[in-house]
C-alpha cells in the first residue's frame, strides 16, 4: 500500500476515533464528576454521611468496573438503541464508552477528592460554609490537579476502549487495524496505525501532565 492509498483511510478513521473519544470524554466528565463527589460526600465522616447509600453507590460503580468492556458493549445494546436509536456507527458507541468510563473516572475523582486535607474542609465548616459551597469552592478547586490527571488517564483508557468499539461497527482506528492489518495483512498500514495511536496517547498524556502541573500550587 502506498501513502496515497493509506491517507484516505487513516484520516477519516482518526476523526472517528476523535469523535468517539471526545464525546464520551465529555459525557464521562459530566456524569463521573458528580458521582465521584457523591462517593466522598455520602461516605462515613463525609459532608453528608449516608453510609448505606454510599455502599449501594459503590456497588453499582464496582459492577460497572468489573465487566470487561467488550462484554459491557454487547450487554447494553438495548440501552444504546433506546438512547441513540441505532447500535452501529460512531455515535452509537459513545453510549457504551461513556457507560464503561463513568465508574472508572468516578473512582479517580473519589481518590483525588480524598487527597484534600480534612483540616481544610473543617476550616471551611468552621467559617459557616454550606455543603455545596464546600464542594464548589474547596473540594473541587483543591483537587483540580488530581482531577485533570484522572481525566487524562480516562481519555487514554477511552482510546483503548474505542478500538474495541471499532470491531463491533464503531469505526475509527481500531476498526482500520482489524480490517486492513488483521484481515488483509497490510502490515505497513498496521504499523502506521500503531504509531499514530502511540503518538496520540503520548501527546494527550503530556498535555494532561502539563496542565495538572500548572494547576498545582503545592
Amino acid at each position: 500500500m502506498t501513502w496515497e492509498e493509506m491517507l484516505p483511510l487513516l484520516w477519516p478513521a482518526t476523526l472517528e476515533t476523535a469523535q468517539m473519544v471526545g464525546w464520551s470524554t465529555l459525557f464521562t466528565a459530566l456524569l463521573g464528576l458528580p458521582l465521584g463527589v457523591a462517593l466522598v460526600a455520602f461516605d462515613r465522616g463525609g459532608l453528608r454521611p449516608a453510609p448505606a447509600f454510599k455502599s449501594a453507590l459503590g456497588f453499582v460503580v464496582n459492577v460497572g468496573r468489573s465487566l470487561p468492556f467488550i462484554v459491557l458493549m454487547i450487554a447494553i445494546i438495548p440501552f444504546t438503541r433506546l438512547v441513540v436509536g441505532t447500535t452501529i456507527g460512531t455515535a452509537a458507541f459513545v453510549v457504551p464508552l461513556t457507560v464503561g468510563a463513568v465508574p472508572f473516572f468516578a473512582r479517580l475523582v473519589e481518590t483525588a477528592l480524598r487527597e484534600v486535607g480534612a483540616d481544610v474542609v473543617q476550616a471551611a465548616q468552621a467559617m459557616g460554609a454550606s455543603r455545596t459551597t464546600i464542594v464548589r469552592k474547596v473540594l473541587l478547586p483543591e483537587a483540580l490537579p488530581g482531577l485533570v490527571a484522572g481525566l487524562t488517564v480516562t481519555v487514554v483508557a477511552l482510546i483503548g476502549y474505542s478500538a474495541m468499539a471499532g470491531t463491533l461497527g464503531g469505526g475509527g482506528l481500531g476498526d482500520l487495524a482489524v480490517r486492513y492489518g488483521y484481515q488483509r495483512f497490510e502490515t505497513l498500514l498496521m504499523i502506521v496505525t500503531v504509531v499514530l495511536l502511540l503518538v496520540i496517547v503520548q501527546l494527550l498524556q503530556s498535555l494532561g501532565d502539563w496542565v495538572a502541573r500548572r494547576l498545582s500550587h503545592k
Binding site: 481544610v120 467559617m127 459557616g128 478547586p141 483543591e142 494547576l215
Partner: protein, 320 residues
C-alpha cells in the same frame, strides 16, 4: 462570651469530655492547657459545634448554638473565627483569595471584599503579599493569613487550635504578640488551646487545666497564683515535689525587688537557706516563687511577718 455547661463527648466507649464547664468572659484571652489526649481539642471543636457534644450546651455571644438548625448554625459560625495548627489554607487560592473566602461565604460583594481583604492583610502585617501563594510563605506568615481569614467576618470570638504548635519559638512569640494586640485593639475574646505553658504565661488572662476529659483547675491566672496549692503555680514554677517537711514556699506577686527576705533575716533571729526558686513574667507582672528552709527561735514570728507583707506562705506538712 462563651459559656459551656455540662459538656460530654463520647466516641463509642471512649469519653473525650467528661462534664466540662467553661466560662470565658468578654475581652479576655482564655487558655486551655493540657497534654495531647486531654480532650482540649474536642472541647474547642465543641464550642463551634464542629463536634456535636453528646450532652451539654454551648452559648456563644448569648446564642445557644446547640439549639440551632444547620442554616442558623452556619450564620452563627461566621461570627466565630478559628485558626488552626497547620493553618488549613487553600492551596488553590492566593493569600488574598484565602482571606476573601469567608467573605464569599457571607455573600459580601466583590468591591467590598477587596477593600476588606486589603484592610485585614495590613492588620496582620502582610500588606503587599496578597498575590502570593500560601506555599511561598513561611509558617508564621501562613498563620498570619489564617488570622486575617478568621477575622474577616468581624468575629466577637476567636478560637485558636494549637495555633503556634507548628512554629519555632521566635515565630510563636510574634504570633502571640499579634493575638495579644488584636485582643487589646479589637476587644476580641480569644479561646485558645495549647500544650505549651509558655503560651499561657505570655498571653492568657485566664486558664483551665485539662486532664482526661475534665477541667482540673480554672480561673483568672492572677487569682490562681495567689491560691495556695494551685496546680498552675506548681506547673509554672517547677520545684521538687513533695516539698521537704518543714520547708517553706513563698510566692511573691508584687515588686520582685522588695527586700522581704533580707528584712526577715535582719529582724528575726532566723537562718534562711534557699532550696530553689524562680521568677516569671505572667499575667502582666512578675511573680516569684522561692522555697526556703527557716531555722531559729523566731520562725513562727518570721512567717507571720512574711504573710503580713503580702506573700503567700505555704509550709510543707501544714494544711494550706
Amino acid at each position: 462570651m462563651i459559656q459551656a455547661s455540662g459538656l460530654r463527648k463520647q466516641y463509642g466507649t471512649t469519653v473525650a469530655l467528661d462534664g466540662v464547664d467553661l466560662h470565658v468572659r468578654e475581652g479576655e484571652i482564655y487558655g486551655v492547657l493540657g497534654q495531647s489526649g486531654a480532650g482540649k481539642s474536642t472541647l474547642l471543636r465543641c464550642v463551634n459545634l464542629l463536634e456535636r457534644p453528646t450532652a451539654g450546651t454551648v452559648t456563644v455571644a448569648g446564642q445557644d448554638l446547640t439549639a440551632l438548625g444547620s442554616g442558623e448554625l452556619n450564620r452563627a459560625r461566621q461570627r466565630i473565627g478559628m485558626i488552626h495548627q497547620h493553618f488549613a489554607l487553600l492551596s488553590s487560592r492566593t493569600v488574598a483569595g484565602n482571606v476573601a473566602f469567608p467573605l464569599e461565604v457571607m455573600g459580601v460583594p466583590r468591591a467590598e471584599r477587596e477593600r476588606r481583604v486589603a484592610e485585614l492583610l495590613e492588620l496582620v502585617g502582610l500588606d503587599g503579599r496578597g498575590k502570593d501563594r500560601p506555599h511561598q510563605l513561611s509558617g508564621g506568615q501562613k498563620q498570619r493569613v489564617g488570622i486575617a481569614r478568621a477575622l474577616a467576618g468581624n468575629p466577637a470570638v476567636l478560637l485558636s487550635d494549637e495555633a503556634t504548635s507548628a512554629l519555632d519559638p521566635a515565630t510563636t512569640q510574634s504570633i502571640l504578640a499579634l493575638l495579644k494586640r488584636l485582643n487589646a485593639e479589637l476587644g476580641l475574646t480569644i479561646l485558645l488551646i495549647t500544650h505549651e505553658m509558655n503560651v499561657v504565661k505570655s498571653v492568657c488572662d485566664s486558664v483551665a487545666i485539662m486532664s482526661r476529659g475534665r477541667i482540673e483547675e480554672s480561673g483568672v491566672i492572677a487569682d490562681l497564683i495567689r491560691t495556695p496549692g494551685s496546680r498552675l503555680t506548681r506547673e509554672i514554677f517547677p520545684l521538687p515535689e513533695p516539698a521537704p517537711a518543714g520547708s517553706v514556699t513563698l510566692t511573691f506577686t508584687g515588686d520582685p525587688r522588695q527586700p522581704v527576705v533580707s528584712e526577715v533575716v535582719r529582724k528575726f533571729d532566723v537562718d534562711l537557706s534557699i532550696l530553689g526558686g524562680s521568677i516569671e513574667e505572667l499575667a502582666g507582672g512578675s511573680v516569684g516563687r522561692l522555697r526556703v528552709a527557716l531555722d531559729g527561735a523566731d520562725s513562727a514570728a518570721a512567717l507571720a511577718y512574711l504573710r503580713d507583707s503580702g506573700l503567700i506562705v505555704e509550709v510543707a506538712g501544714e494544711a494550706a
